[in-house]
């Protein structure tokens, strides 16, 4: 400290300090100033732009898809032959638990969130989501949850109780490692990501639509995302209660699920499946939305029965809440409850049927172009039908007591999940890749990818129907020749076929990864409207500008973009569609009336700070060092209040005055002078 000596005697008139130059934020705050860069790693870590967050969600989800895929290959390698020795019993139990948990919580939900984050604002003509910083917080929470979940591999073994972690097998005496604690708290943190994402997207869809876009003029993908988010917003709190009770049981030895204290293990099953069943509709509805966007574009026909598809989506979402106990037909519910839930489960097959019929009728009479995206979409329609029908066979409760917990159920949900949401996601990748990255994925590699995946999928999961009906239970780390039989339908042959199929599937996915690398290195820039699309997100450049639309378009029709490109000039019922404008002209017309000032939300580091404190709290609880949790909670409160006191759009005082000398481009954000 520079101590200034004051002479003792006469009062010294402080010399008027020469006005020091105003200090720029980076000098005053250094690393803690508000981030404003738009390039480099800071642009990604502190971004609040829905497009950057969408791409980060997609990349992280794809990484976890590959991780879970490898886990699946290890499982199939262990079961390829009798008395398999690839994995020991304990490691096998961890492998299938983490395969299922990673696929559902760290691939399917975040991938749907990524696509939704990227596309919903573009499809409804908004410049960003309603709460941009919560959107960033959601992504970092998902990543923190994924890391905590997978940290268990290195700290004593992962969770080994199956993805629905039935009690009391998941309580401490039967699963002594910390795996289940990491599982519960990791998914708790990832659950926060889904809850905040859901609130964010619902408010965005309800409140930030372009002028003229009524709810019945919204694209179907946005409709399915809206239903999915409503399911999420009401399902996540139920699993949050279940995880809290599980953590209290494991870390603070409460007795919620231990039968010795008189508890009822079925309480966990109810709480889990009240979340679990809406969860599986959360996994598949986004892909229904994607297919409902892709099929019309490549059939050159609007979606057949738009209101029916929308209301059947809502019906699935609504009925999804009344069927959860069909997972528990053999768990000992009374006959009356089983009857109620069996009929409700059958009722849910009707709206699903409506969707399949409408997709087929959309293609009927169309002008089908079989690009890879179209192939994947049609693949979904076929494979999901098989999965849906095998689902109906065990909605019949008595025959479900023969099929539940066998490989027949494994076959069902893989046809529905892989055939449903994964094929849907891949259709989405191929369809929207030019919009997101500006280049089309190669169609040649795409075809290899599609056919290998379809063949691999049917070879892997088709035989599982047979294995299930031959009585092979789920989650068996080993099968022996004694119980496999010799006839045509013996377990030995079909287990081997299934394992080979799994590796073909893996090669198919490998083709997709090479396609990505190939496109980024040598792909030609995509045309503005490669597929002659129909919806609003295509009235932007590829990839869209930071603020999406220069002028928020006014919507007057469903499939607005198509209506701006084509006019029906035929008289009476004769129809004659004539192209009146190319995509470039439509875009130019919009850009001509660009807004002068556009205020975009500024990046902020508070979301990542608050998200980073959650794993600290979780580790403190798991290892019983509560001081660490308290410090983590203190930091979280600090982060939350720092966030609350930070204005959404940064005032000018946060920007360094543009240095005159280097003349570099000022921040790309248009700053109001």
């Amino acid at each position: 400290m520079a101590i200034i000596e004051r002479p003792a005697t006469e009062p010294v008139v402080a010399p008027t300090p020469t006005p020091a130059p105003i200090v720029t934020p980076s000098e005053a705050f250094g690393t803690f100033r508000r981030p404003v860069e738009t390039t480099g790693w800071r642009a990604w870590v502190f971004t609040v732009d829905h497009k950057k967050i969408g791409v980060m969600y997609g990349a992280a989800a794809l990484f976890f898809f590959v991780v879970a895929g490898l886990e699946a290959l290890l499982i199939r390698a262990q079961l390829a032959g009798p008395e398999g020795t690839v994995l020991s019993a304990d490691v096998y139990n961890q492998m299938f638990t983490m395969h299922a948990t990673t696929m559902i919580f760290l691939f399917a939900i975040p991938m749907a969130a990524g696509l939704a984050n990227y596309l919903v604002p573009l499809q409804i003509g908004a410049r960003d989501v309603a709460f941009p910083r919560i959107n960033a917080f959601g992504f970092w929470c998902f990543l923190a949850g994924g890391i905590v979940l997978n940290l268990s591999w290195f700290l004593g073994g992962a969770a080994d109780g199956g993805w629905f972690m039935y009690q009391p097998n998941a309580s401490v005496p039967f699963s002594p490692t910390n795996g289940v604690d990491f599982w519960a708290l990791g998914l708790q943190i990832a659950g926060i990501a889904s809850l905040t994402g859901a609130i964010n997207l619902i408010v965005t869809i309800l409140n930030m639509r372009a002028p003229g876009m009524s709810l019945m003029r919204m694209p179907v993908f946005t409709w399915m995302i809206l239903v999915t988010q409503f399911l999420l917003v009401f399902a996540i709190p139920v699993i949050t209660v279940a995880f809290f009770l599980l953590t209290f049981q494991r870390s603070f030895d409460a007795a919620f699920f231990s039968p010795a204290a008189g508890a009822d293990p079925l309480l966990w099953q109810h709480l889990f499946w009240i979340f679990g069943h809406p969860e599986v509709y959360i996994l598949v509805l986004p892909s229904f939305g994607i297919v409902s966007e892709v099929l019309p574009v490549f059939s050159k026909k609007p979606l057949f029965g738009y209101p029916f598809v929308v209301f059947s989506g809502i019906a699935i979402g609504f009925l999804g809440w009344g069927v959860w106990a069909h997972h528990m037909f053999a768990s000992g519910l009374g006959p009356v409850s089983v009857a109620v839930f069996a009929t409700a489960t059958m009722a849910i097959a009707v709206p699903t049927g409506v969707k399949i019929i409408n997709w087929t009728l959309t293609m009927w009479g169309g002008k089908l172009r079989f690009t890879t995206a179209m192939l994947f979409a049609m693949g979904l329609v076929v494979q999901f039908t098989i999965g849906g029908l095998s689902g109906v066979t065990h909605s019949v409760a008595p025959s479900d007591t023969q099929q539940t917990d066998t490989y027949y159920i494994v076959a069902h949900f893989h046809y529905v999940l892989f055939g449903g949401s994964v094929l849907g996601f891949f259709a989405g990748f191929y369809y929207w890749w030019p919009k997101v990255f500006g280049k089309c994925l190669s169609e040649r590699l795409g075809r290899w990818n599609f056919w290998l995946m379809i063949i691999g999928m049917n070879l892997t999961f088709g035989p599982m129907h047979i294995l299930g009906l031959q009585g092979q239970p789920r989650r068996m780390y080993i099968w022996t020749t004694e119980r496999s039989g010799e006839g045509f339908f013996n377990l030995g042959f079909w287990n081997l076929v299934s394992s080979i199929g799994a590796f073909i599937l893996a090669v198919g996915v490998l083709f997709f990864l090479t396609n990505i690398v190939h496109t980024h290195r040598k792909g030609a820039p995509a045309p503005l409207d490669p597929w002659d699309a129909r919806t609003l997100e295509w009235i932007t450049t590829n990839p869209p500008k930071e603020h999406n639309f220069d002028r928020v378009p006014t919507v007057s029709h469903l499939d607005e973009f198509f209506h701006r490109k084509y006019e029906d000039v035929g008289e009476g019922d004769a129809h004659d569609l004539r192209a009146v404008a190319t995509a470039e002209e439509v875009l130019a017309a919009e850009q001509a009336q660009a807004d002068a000032q556009i205020h975009m939300p500024s990046p902020s580091y508070w979301p990542i700070v608050v998200a980073a404190t959650l794993p600290v709290i979780a580790l403190g609880i798991i290892y019983g060092v509560y001081i660490v949790s308290i410090v983590g909670a203190l930091l979280m409160v600090f982060g939350i209040f720092g966030w609350a006191m930070e204005p959404g759009t940064a005032p000018d005082s946060d920007f360094d005055p543009s240095p005159v000398d280097d003349g570099g481009p000022t921040t790309e954000l248009v700053r109001s002078e």
């Binding site: 309800l206 002028p211 009401f234 109810h270 807004d595 002068a596 109001s672």
Partner: protein, 119 residues
């Protein structure tokens, strides 16, 4: 979750983020009750609570639990409609809150029914 079509509204904003648009009249504060009425509502709530507690000391036979539940529901609706302004606000707020509430009620009552809780 069925979105009633009446939700789509007269979107007037010509420009999503027009500069310095006049502050739209915030709907919450235009009307609602005056302070005096709030105090009266609070007294009503206090009276109902007192009634509930005294009822639990008296032995009124089988109607005891239904009466308690009715009084609870009345207090609940009073606070939600008046103190939380739901009665005077846009119908979307009521839709969002009551869909969550009724869903919770339905799902958990059905779950407890499978435990033969009400038998």
């Amino acid at each position: 979750m069925s979105e009633s079509t009446t939700l789509d509204e007269t979107a007037t904003g010509t420009d999503a983020t027009a500069q310095h648009s006049p502050e739209p009249p915030d709907d919450g504060h235009a009307h609602g009750a005056t302070d005096g009425q709030y105090i009266v509502i609070a007294l009503i709530l206090a009276v109902i609570t007192a009634a509930e507690v005294s009822l639990s000391y008296m032995d009124v036979g089988p109607i005891f639990i239904p009466a308690l539940l009715v009084m609870m529901a009345v207090k609940f609706v009073i606070v939600v409609s008046y103190f939380m302004h739901l009665k005077f606000d846009n119908r979307i707020f009521s839709f969002l809150f009551y869909s969550g509430l009724l869903l919770a009620l339905g799902v958990y009552v059905l779950a407890l029914a499978t435990f033969e809780f009400f038998a």
